[in-house]
Point group: C2
Chain length 213, copies 2
């Protein structure tokens, strides 16, 4: 199906530029960035955009296909870890960090639009993997029993939401929320896991609370 003649070099270069710009903008500002902004960031005209992609949605799909794959890889990698808690914790933290670093990922996971098949397929793949991580940790008595597999995506959402608010000002802040949540997931715990990011300064706090739209 893709046996069509290859794109002219300038066309291919522009296509890559658009994908690159979209990756950046989707990560920084979510999937709702306008086509005009993406074209501008890519240094091409809007006309060029619509010659390379049939519509906006196709671009979204193209950008996030690879991201979803990386989450699956993270789950597979975590399953290689022997210690059940380490494995589970690594998975949750790795995926949370992906969400924290990419505002668009949350949007796509919650989307109803096209790319739905993509996301549905992704979920079918990830569920048994994440399920295995959870079961293993529960069986070892290190993960609280009352956790459902469906709680995990919402933990990612929570961490992502905090990252959305704090990203501009203190890009690592979300690690603190993540640490709290993961500590809350443990069956028991004698001491807190050390925080890997400092608290907000007064200035950072005020800046965050006075964010522009």
């Amino acid at each position: 199906m893709s046996a069509a003649r290859p794109l002219r070099v300038d066309a291919e270069r522009n296509r890559q530029r658009i994908l690159e710009a979209a990756r950046t903008l989707f990560a920084e500002r979510g999937v709702d960035v306008s086509v005009d902004d993406i074209a501008a960031a890519a240094g091409v005209g809007i006309g060029t955009f619509y010659r390379r992609f049939p519509d906006r949605e196709s671009l979204v799909e193209a950008v996030f296909a690879t991201k979803l794959d990386r989450i699956v890889e993270a789950a597979r990698a975590a399953l290689e870890i022997e210690d059940p808690w380490e494995a589970f914790r690594t998975y949750v933290m790795t995926v949370s960090r992906m969400h924290a670093g990419d505002r668009g990922l949350k949007d796509v996971m919650l989307s109803t639009d096209r790319g739905r098949e993509q996301v549905t397929a992704f979920r079918a793949t990830i569920q048994p993997l994440a399920g295995a991580l959870i079961e293993r940790a529960k069986a070892a008595g290190v993960l609280r029993e009352d956790i459902s597999p469906f709680d995990i995506p919402l933990i990612h959402q929570a961490v992502g939401a905090i990252a959305d608010v704090t990203r501009d000002c203190s890009p690592d802040y979300f690690e603190r929320t993540l640490t709290l949540l993961v500590d809350g997931l443990a069956q028991q715990r004698t001491a807190p896991t050390p925080m890997s990011a400092p608290p907000l300064s007064v200035d950072q706090f005020l800046t965050i609370m006075a964010r522009r739209r």
Copy 2:
């Protein structure tokens, strides 16, 4: 200053209807609801809205003034509790529940627009109260030492964000996220705090992940 002649009865009734409609809509959909929607929900025309309020922002201020007061009350009430952990925990949970029940509250706390003075005054009031709750719990060795006062508002934001996503489908779900976070805040813990809400069903999960905009 408010010694002006009282409003005509129909005018006062409409004013109350608008405030009531705004309270509901801000809670359900955030502060960005349009004036048209508020007027329609109140059963009045837009013209009437603009005769009662100089502009949209004034309505926002009027609605949230009382809400911010209630948060301060919650802090004062929590300070009455003897047990330092119970006091701290009650404050965090009460305010988180307010955020969970009112989408607009998060928006207002993060606003840069008017109402800023209002929010600034609120913060000046709440900070010493919340600070006392935190210090007391740390001194008693029940709250982790690495928590900063500025972490608390972000916990509220995280819970609120989860409530935004799950509200339609499972209005109590946020309690689970809240439980995890509060368990994560404890200095140590031998068993998980029981969840006060059930996990999502498959249907609920899929509905949430396919939300309409």
